[in-house]
C-alpha cells in the first residue's frame, strides 16, 4: 500500500501544475473561489433570517388575535345562577351597571386597537431594519471582495478606501451644519 502512495502524490502535483497553468492562461477567473465562498455565505446568512420564520408566524397569529379582539363587539355576562332568585338578581344588577360596563368595555377595545396598531408599527419598522442591515451587509461584502481582488501592492485598494472615507466625512460634515 505504501508503495502506491507516491504515484498518487505525484498525480496531485500534476493536477496542481495543471491548475496553475490554466490560471496563468486566464482560463480560471482569479477570484472565482472567493466569490463562490462569499455567495454561499450570503445565502447562509439569509437562511439564518429564514429560521426566524416560526417565531414570526406565532407573532403574526397573536397579532391577528389582538386585531379580532379589538373589533369584536362586547358580549354581556351570562345571568345564569344556581341560587334561587339569583338569575333575577343578576339581571337587575346587570341593568343597573350596564352603562359603566359599556364604558369600560369601550375603553378596553380602544386599548386593544391601539396596542394592535403599535405592534403593527413595530413589525413594519423591524422589517425595514432587517432589509437595511442586509443591504448594508451586501455592500460590505462587495467592498471586501473588491479589496481582495485588487492586485497586491498596487495601492488601488488604499486609494479607493481613502476616497470613500473622504466621501463619508464630507457627508457627515454636511449633516452637522445647522
Amino acid at each position: 500500500m505504501s508503495t502506491d502512495r507516491p504515484d498518487l502524490e505525484s498525480l496531485i502535483e500534476r493536477l496542481r501544475a495543471l491548475v496553475e497553468e490554466r490560471r496563468l492562461r486566464g482560463e480560471y477567473p482569479p477570484s472565482l473561489d472567493q466569490e463562490l465562498s462569499a455567495h454561499f455565505h450570503r445565502i447562509a446568512a439569509l437562511r439564518s433570517v429564514a429560521s426566524l420564520e416560526e417565531p414570526r408566524k406565532i407573532f403574526e397569529e397573536k397579532l391577528e388575535a389582538l386585531r379580532s379582539a379589538s373589533r369584536t363587539p362586547p358580549q354581556g355576562a351570562s345571568a345564569d345562577s344556581h341560587v334561587p332568585g339569583g338569575k333575577l338578581a343578576h339581571r337587575i344588577i346587570g341593568r343597573l351597571t350596564a352603562r359603566q360596563h359599556q364604558a369600560m368595555s369601550d375603553q378596553i377595545q380602544e386599548l386593544a386597537a391601539v396596542t394592535h396598531e403599535v405592534f403593527e408599527a413595530m413589525d413594519r419598522s423591524e422589517r425595514v431594519i432587517i432589509e437595511q442591515i442586509f443591504g448594508e451587509l451586501d455592500a460590505v461584502i462587495e467592498r471586501m471582495l473588491s479589496y481582495e481582488r485588487a492586485p497586491a501592492g498596487s495601492g488601488l485598494a488604499e486609494k479607493e478606501l481613502h476616497r470613500r472615507v473622504e466621501q463619508l466625512e464630507a457627508e457627515r460634515a454636511r449633516r452637522a451644519r445647522p
Partner: protein, 358 residues
Amino acid sequence: MSFIAHQVLTTAAPGDAVTDSALKMADVLREFGSSLIFAENIHPDLYGRVFPLRDYDERAGNSEMIVWHSSIGAPEVREFLQLRDERIVLVYHNITPPHFFDFWDTDLAALLRMGLQDLELLRSKVHLSIAVSDFNARELNSIGYRNVEVVPLTWSWQRLGSIAPHQPTVDYLANEIDGPVLLYVGQVSPHKRLDLLLKAYHILTTYLRDHVHLFMIGSHRVKSYSETVRSFVKELNLPFAQFPGALSDAELAAHFERADVIVTMSEHEGLCLPLVEAMAFDTPFLARSHAAVPFTAGGAGVLLPPEEDPFLAAEAMELLISDADLCATLKEKGKARLAALDPEGSMAKFRDVIRKVA
C-alpha cells in the same frame, strides 16, 4: 464459553449506521448466549428487535457485559451505564466535532458536546473499547482511553452488493441520464462540505466539461444547511446537480452501478463507508485527506490534500472521468483494499475482542 451480553444505544433507526452495526453485532453476541439491543429512542419499524432502555432490568437477565455504542449525548443512557456493574465494551463510531454545527444547528451542536462529555465521564467504567478505524482509536487515546482495539465495521457494503438494484431506477439512470455521473453518498450536513463539492462541480461544468450529472444521495438532517446548499445549486444554475434524498438500498445500488466516480469533500469521517462501497462496485473515488479517510481509502482512490482547493478537486474529477487507465489501476487497488477490509475478518476480530472481555 457462554454468557449474556446486551447492547445499548441512544437511538435505533432503520438505515442508521450505528443501528445496523448493533444488529450485525447481535448475531455474533448470540453465538455466546442471549443478547438483546436496548435503546432510549426507538423507531417504530424496530419495535420487537430493539427494546426500550427502561425495560433493561426486566428483560436483561444475569447479563455480564454491555456493549455500548456511543453517539450524541443522552443523560438517560449515561446515568444508566454509570449505575451498572456489568463489564462495559465501548463501540466508538465517532462523534462529529460540534463546531461544524455551531452556525447551523445549535441544538445538535449541544448534543454532540454532551456526547463527548459522556465519553469522558464513562471512561473509568469502560473495560475495553472498539474503534471502527485507527483514526477513531487515536481520538479515544487522546481523551485517555487506553485499551482500544481497531475493528473496521465494514459489513454493510456486502449487503448493498448482494441485493438486486431497483430496476426502475436502473432504467431511469440508463435511459434518461446521459454523460458522466458523479455520486455523493452521505448526509447533507456541514462537515460533509457539500459547499466545497458544489464549488468544484461548478468549476468542472463551467470550465472543463459541460455535461456532468451529480447525485447527492442522503438524508437532510440539518435543515438550514440543506436549504442553503439547495439554494446554492439553484443560484449557480446547476441543473444536473440533484438531491434525491435518502434512498432504499436497492435504489442506492442502482446509483452505484451507474456512477462513474464517487466523490466526497468531507472533513470528518469515522470510517467513510461509501468509499468501501465504491471499491465493492469497482468505481473510482475522490475524497479529501481528512480524519479516517486515508485509512479507509488505503491508497485505492484519489485523495486530495486537506486544504480547500475547488480547482484541484475539479481537475481531479475531470481526470477520473476521462482517464480509463488510471481508473483501471484504482479499481485493482480497490480490490486489494477491499480484501483487507473483509467483513468476515471484522466479524472474527469482534468475536475475539468479546472473548477477551468475557
